[in-house]
């Protein structure tokens, strides 16, 4: 405090000093607000740092022809493009624990929105057994054993769901297991808007 002896003689210097003292506080405050918004977005589900924005969104489904997967009838890209009502395409695997947890959600959803499944890197016998045990939520199932069709869709892991609108346009995507909130607040309203 050497210059307290003459504070009034150098007002510009004191102002500058105060500004310099305040600068780190302002930076810390701005960072705090930013982090708080990120965290509140994460708890509300509006922000997910791991979310991958797939480029197929709002485009027609990529070309694919896959073998049928028991216990349902199979499908190809042409079937999705011929749709007149929305369908949920769900990538799953019998070896995927979150998929097991997602099955009750899909079973509760299947009467309001048809679900077509794609078994990802799964042996046909394992996939069929898994789907049967879970109560088969899928109207149709295709098998993607090599996992190359999934890459064309931008799938990074299972489960992953895509909402397909009329004409086979991909309207919505999530790389997370479907939860009650997402189905009620996002998926069903969107599907309803596409049905009209």
């Amino acid at each position: 405090m050497s210059d307290t002896a003459a504070p009034s003689s150098r007002p510009a210097s004191t102002t500058r000093r105060r500004l310099l003292m305040a600068a780190p506080l302002v930076v810390a405050g701005a960072a705090g607000v930013g982090f708080w918004r990120m965290l509140s977005g994460m708890t509300q589900g509006s922000f997910d740092p791991h979310d991958i924005h797939v480029p197929v969104l709002d485009r027609p489904v990529p070309d694919f022809a896959l073998p049928n997967q028991a216990p349902s009838q199979g499908f190809a890209a042409a079937d999705l493009r011929a749709l007149t009502r929305p369908v949920l395409v769900n990538f799953f695997a019998s070896w995927c624990i979150p998929c097991v947890a997602e099955m009750p959600m899909l079973n509760a959803l299947k009467d309001r929105l048809p679900i077509w499944g794609i078994a990802y890197k799964d042996k046909p016998d394992n996939a069929a057994g898994f789907v049967r045990r879970a109560g088969n939520p899928y109207a149709r199932i295709a098998g993607d054993l090599p996992g190359l069709t999934a890459i064309d869709w931008g799938v990074s892991g299972v489960p992953e769901s895509f909402l397909i609108g009329p004409g086979g346009i991909i309207r919505w995507h999530t790389a997370a297991p479907l939860g009650e909130d997402t189905i009620r607040d996002t998926l069903l309203p969107l599907a309803a808007s596409l049905t009209r």
């Binding site: 150098r10 797939v54 996992g147 931008g154 990074s156």
Partner: protein, 163 residues
Amino acid sequence: MTPPTVRRSFLARTLFVLTVLAGLSPLAAAAVDDPSEMLPDPRQEARAEAIGAQLRCLVCQNESIEDSGADLARDLRHVVRDHVAKGESDRQIMAWMVGRYGNFIRLRPPLTAGTLLLWIMPLLALLVGAGAAFLSFRRPRTATPAPLTDAERARLSDLTRPH
């Protein structure tokens, strides 16, 4: 005190361990790559590895597909090698990947409006630092202190008077 022989054997052991570790490190780097995955042409394989090192593994997210042991990373390594073997350019292969997974798959993000701040940050930091240095050198270190008042002078001589 530790006898010198014990210390020497400790040193020898440390050196031995370090040598073994140094010898193992190339093996560790190649452990992910199954030789059957590699392209027969070493020049094509080197190109595929360079491209793969630029691609993010979507499962581990902070590893490249060349470093990751994830299934999807192995599939993507195969895809890269297929495209390299077909004679596609690096740019074509990168475009194929970005077309499916977006710019997120690129470990080196492209210069866009969204990444502008990221790319110019080093330059900004340099400019701010240079500006701060310039200002602090230009400004006089200390202002000349005001001359002492009579009372202060008297107090000073009182304090410094020898006993």
